[in-house]
């Protein structure tokens, strides 16, 4: 009963800390539960889609040729193969939505038996899937966002010099390759259309096959001859990441594994070793598909959960501070309670109960808030992944997280309330309590000039312990803001793009046909007429098989210029290869190993000369010099990258090249630095940045309300004295808020130091998800200034607003009647 009475009284008189604690916990709960729910719903939605569409362990897109027939015949030798399914498909050379070229590799197939068609509102599946008529097409849902496409839009596919038009009739969930992150896409057309394109393209494919047969008969040919051969075979070579060498008729082979314990990559390796299917086709495993599809979500999930953990740490600091101050302010009342026979344990229990009730209230509201947040975030990820998420709350794992939060808080409160033992009833009854201010040996001087500032400084130096909490809170928030800001700067930094195994030129020229390659010297003349070319890298890329493992391979003509090397050296000779550290670990390879690389029926031995890092294909990639690539029948370079001496005219150069040679090549200039669009990560980093800034400001606000209110209570008497001495309310408010501003500046600077010390680890954590193990952060003065100013100015504004209570302090409070 007495506990209830005390609790009621406590709740009545401690509304501020109660509400603030509830709000802070609400924010954390809303963020955590919504993120956990988003991930759970995505995984459930993805798994359901895979199950419904009967996804295989490996999906291969192989050319429709006699070579593939031979490979398929060998499939029966694979002990782990349960069964396989073959679906005819066509791979148009180009495709457009209205006039915009689709930059993904498209495979058109007939409508399969089981398709997940989205309903009109795209929030559920349609009850039935209407058969497609001639000229109609179903496209993956992710097209909605990255191609801004809607029902009724027109898609045109070009194959073997013919154009085929389709009207978008609906959107499907294609869990295997439907994500925005994956460069190949499967679209559904009517059987009639498929048969027509397939038939019309037969001659085209036959020409390619015949030329390959001729090459086989004449034996090894030089690179020039190889190039020439291809030029004569087709004017419309596909230069994308395909192993199908321009074939339009494709066979989509779904391979199902019989061993549930076997990893997809091991299964794929077995298939490759037995049949060479993997190196002869464009292949993707289910595990890789899931990794690429969920990549953006995993980045956000990790960062948001790391941030909420930090926020929870802040809540614990705030609670600890609040309890300690409360014990000091309420010294007399607590002493009197003790003198009346109420034990420390009871008082501690009441305080603990109050905070836990506040947290529980916050958690309940947070749970409610997490539902719309989850919907919004799921919708954002639905656009990226193309997966329709489930709609539920992650109760299981959520409850566990909330239980951990409650337990950690209870333990902390228990530890903090041990200070109650120091309360002496006798001292309390005499109105005594410790002098709050006397905890400093170093004091700021009080001066006439800048009196308010000097008094503010004295307020800090004479009660440093009171500001430790705020200092750490602002330091942590500043650190997180700088770190997140740096992620963005780093992603768009030229040096970092290069250090992550990519190229970062000023101008890129993509070859669209073989004529384009011949025109490259002329394009270079245009560039040279404006400025000197400092560096040039030409490369091609293709999927290859390393000892049976499928991997994306870059084939540069200047391999020595690629950066991102972690160990060893770049490959230079035609029997050398460099592989990412992530891929080496996944395939069990190390430096110096000799590996067999296969592609398109060709195989050669290579020595691993170096380990590097790259974001290409989420970290699983390798580099073979172009000389070495010739042994694997890989197309010559299709991308030419130029580093310019003077970048001012790059837009003009690009315009001129595209005007003159636009049919055969596509030139583009690249911007670097903040705000530059670079890849799909941009939206994620900006979203994370937005979340962290918004929640940081909310946290600053609420913690400031708690800390300032407590400080105000402690200093109410001194404020009255200053008023009596002739200090105006305005001056006292400034004095009060400047003090918190100064503390937050110190916190901000501490946060900057934390950033310098730990941002690299933070970035490695974030970039590690993308496959980059070592990143040197690109700090910009702007990110430091922005974060420190943001936190400090927020603190200043909130402290000033909260100090409005000073108006209400009457000097009358000093009067003893």
């Amino acid at each position: 009963m007495k506990v209830l009475t005390l609790l009621r009284s406590n709740l009545r008189h401690r509304k501020g800390p109660f509400i603030s604690t509830a709000l802070l916990v609400m924010i954390i709960t809303a963020m955590t539960i919504s993120m956990l729910s988003v991930k759970k719903n995505y995984i459930n939605g993805r798994d359901h889609a895979h199950e419904y569409t009967n996804s295989p362990a490996v999906m291969a897109f192989a050319k429709d040729s006699s070579d593939t027939d031979k490979i398929i015949a060998l499939l029966d030798n694979c002990p782990s193969l349960d069964h396989y399914e073959i679906t005819p498909a066509v791979n148009p050379e180009k495709a457009y939505i209205w006039n915009d070229e689709i930059t993904r590799e498209l495979f058109l197939t007939a409508l399969p038996e089981k398709v997940l068609l989205l309903s009109e509102d795209k929030n559920s599946f349609a009850e039935s899937v209407p058969e497609l008529k001639k000229g109609e097409i179903y496209v993956p849902y992710s097209f909605c966002s990255f191609m801004d496409i809607s029902e009724g839009d027109r898609i045109t596919a070009e194959a073997a010099d013919r154009k085929y038009s389709f009207t978008v009739r609906g959107f499907i969930v294609e869990p295997f390759i439907g994500s925005e992150m994956i460069g190949i896409k499967r679209l559904y057309i009517s059987s009639e259309d498929l048969a027509e394109i397939s038939e019309n393209s037969r001659r085209h494919d036959l020409a390619i096959e015949n030329s390959a047969v001729r090459r086989e008969q004449t034996g090894n040919i030089s690179a020039d001859e190889n190039d020439q051969e291809q030029n004569t075979s087709t004017e419309n070579d596909s230069f994308l990441l395909t192993s199908n060498n321009g074939y339009i008729n494709i066979r989509l082979i779904k391979l199902y594994c019989s061993d549930a314990n076997m990893s997809d990559s091991s299964f794929m390796r077995e298939i490759e070793l037995e049949t060479k299917l993997i190196s002869s086709s464009l292949t993707i495993t289910k595990a890789d598909s899931m990794r690429y599809t969920g990549l953006e979500m995993n980045i956000m999930y990790s960062v948001v959960l790391a941030f909420t953990s930090i926020l929870f740490l802040i809540v614990l600091i705030v609670i600890a501070h609040s309890i300690r101050v409360e014990i000091k302010i309420d010294y007399v009342n607590m002493g009197i309670l003790k003198s009346q026979g109420i034990t420390e344990r009871t008082i501690s229990f009441v305080i603990t109960l109050r905070y836990l009730i506040a947290e529980t209230v916050g958690m309940i509201i947070g749970l409610i808030c997490s539902i719309p947040i989850e919907r919004k975030m799921s919708s954002m990820f639905k656009d990226m992944t193309g997966i329709l998420p489930e709609r539920s709350v992650a109760w299981g794992v959520g409850s566990l997280v909330l239980m951990i939060m409650i337990s950690a808080s209870a333990l902390l409160i228990f530890l903090c309330t041990r200070d109650l033992s120091r309360i002496s009833p006798v001292k309390a009854i005499n109105g005594g309590r410790d002098d709050f201010h006397y905890d400093s040996l170093i004091n700021a001087p009080i001066t006439k000039r800048g009196l308010s500032l000097s008094l503010s400084l004295r307020g800090i130096t004479s009660a440093k312990k009171r500001y430790i909490g705020l200092t750490f809170i602002t330091a942590i928030l500043t650190f997180f803001m700088i770190a997140v800001n740096t992620v963005n700067s780093t992603l768009t930094s030229r040096s970092v793009i290069e250090s992550t195994g990519n190229i970062a030129p000023d101008i890129e020229i993509q070859i669209l046909d073989t004529k384009g390659r011949e025109l490259i010297p002329e394009a270079e003349d245009i560039i040279s007429s404006y400025t000197d070319i400092e560096k040039k890298i030409a490369l091609s890329s293709s999927y290859v098989s390393i000892d049976g493992n499928n991997i994306c391979c870059m084939i540069p003509e200047q391999p020595e210029l690629l950066r991102g090397l972690l160990k060893g050296r770049n490959p230079i000779y035609d029997n050398e290869l460099m592989i990412t550290k992530m891929a080496a670990e996944a395939f069990g390879l190390k430096m110096g190993d000799e590996v067999t690389v296969s592609h398109n029926g060709c195989s050669a031995e290579y020595i691993i000369t170096g380990l590097y890092q790259s974001t290409t294909d989420a970290g699983i990639s390798c580099v073979i010099p172009s000389e070495g690539g010739k042994k694997l029948d890989i197309n010559p370079s299709h991308l030419y990258a130029y580093y310019l001496k003077d970048i001012d005219s790059k837009a003009e150069i690009v315009r001129k090249i595209n005007n003159k040679y636009g049919d055969s090549m596509n030139a583009d200039f690249i911007e670097y630095g903040r705000g530059a669009i670079w890849g799909e990560y941009d939206i994620i980093t900006l979203t994370i940045e937005f979340i962290i800034f918004v929640f940081s400001i909310l946290f600053v606000l609420i913690t400031m309300i708690m800390i300032c209110s407590r400080t105000f209570l402690q200093e109410r008497h001194d404020i009255g004295v200053y008023k009596a001495l002739g200090f105006t309310t305005q001056r006292l408010r400034m004095q009060f808020s400047i003090r918190f501003f100064l503390v937050s500046m110190v916190g901000g600077l501490l946060g900057a130091v934390f950033s310098l010390l730990f941002t690299e680890d933070f970035l490695s954590f974030v970039f590690g998800i993308m496959g980059v193990v070592k990143v040197t952060p690109v700090f910009t003065a702007g990110s430091f200034i922005l974060a420190i100013s943001f936190v400090s100015v927020s603190v200043l504004i909130f402290a000033y607003l909260i100090s409005g209570k000073i108006k209400m302090v009457s000097i009358r409070e000093l009067i003893t009647e």
């Binding site: 200053y722 105006t728 309310t729």
Partner: protein, 253 residues
Amino acid sequence: MKNFIMKAEDLSKSFSHNGEQIHVLSHIDMEIEEKSFTVIMGASGSGKSTLLYALSGMDKATAGKVIYNGMNLVSQSEKRLAELRSRDFGFIFQQMHLVSNLTLFENVAVSGYLDRKKTASEVRRRTEELLSSMGLSEVSGHRPSQVSGGEQQRCAIARAIINSPELLFADEPTGALNRRNSTEVLDLLTELNRKGQSILMVTHDLKAALRADRLLYLEDGKIAGELELPPYNASEEKSREKQVNAWLAAMDW
């Protein structure tokens, strides 16, 4: 002819408590003479401290006027009143109310720094003089919590007079002190008054009241009686005490 430094006209102060109006001060008319030592006495709850703070502008009266230097303090802005408190008035409280994170020296100097006409070095010099004259030089670098109540109150007096106020308000300045410290503080106030400092003091301590040259008795928010005395002389304290006692007895004290 008497020069009045402050006048109260029809001054009233009431509070609302549970919907009921409580009249603490009721239609008070009074003057404070320049260089006088006026003491307000009265039983607990008679409204003497309320009157002191209403006169000093620290608390707003409900009705009436407080005239100082031709201006009505009741209608002045908070900023103007703050200016008056820093420049024209000095305050001594019963509980001293020194700022706990400032040393005694700083407590005094901060008030001095508010006077824009004085330079920082002038303030420091004046602070040293005052602390020395009050026997606080040795402890000037101490915090309030490190010195005795008497030392704290002497410091509070130094703080109150650093800007040479026109009028010094003292609210039970000896209320929290022992006898020895009380005498020290009262001697200081008497000495200040002798030098021309106008003082308005509230007390219920007879010993303190003896220092006044004018006594006002407050009862139920009204001035019930007034006694004029010659300037204080320690050698005549006993006869003065008898006179004051008799007057207080007449006031039903």
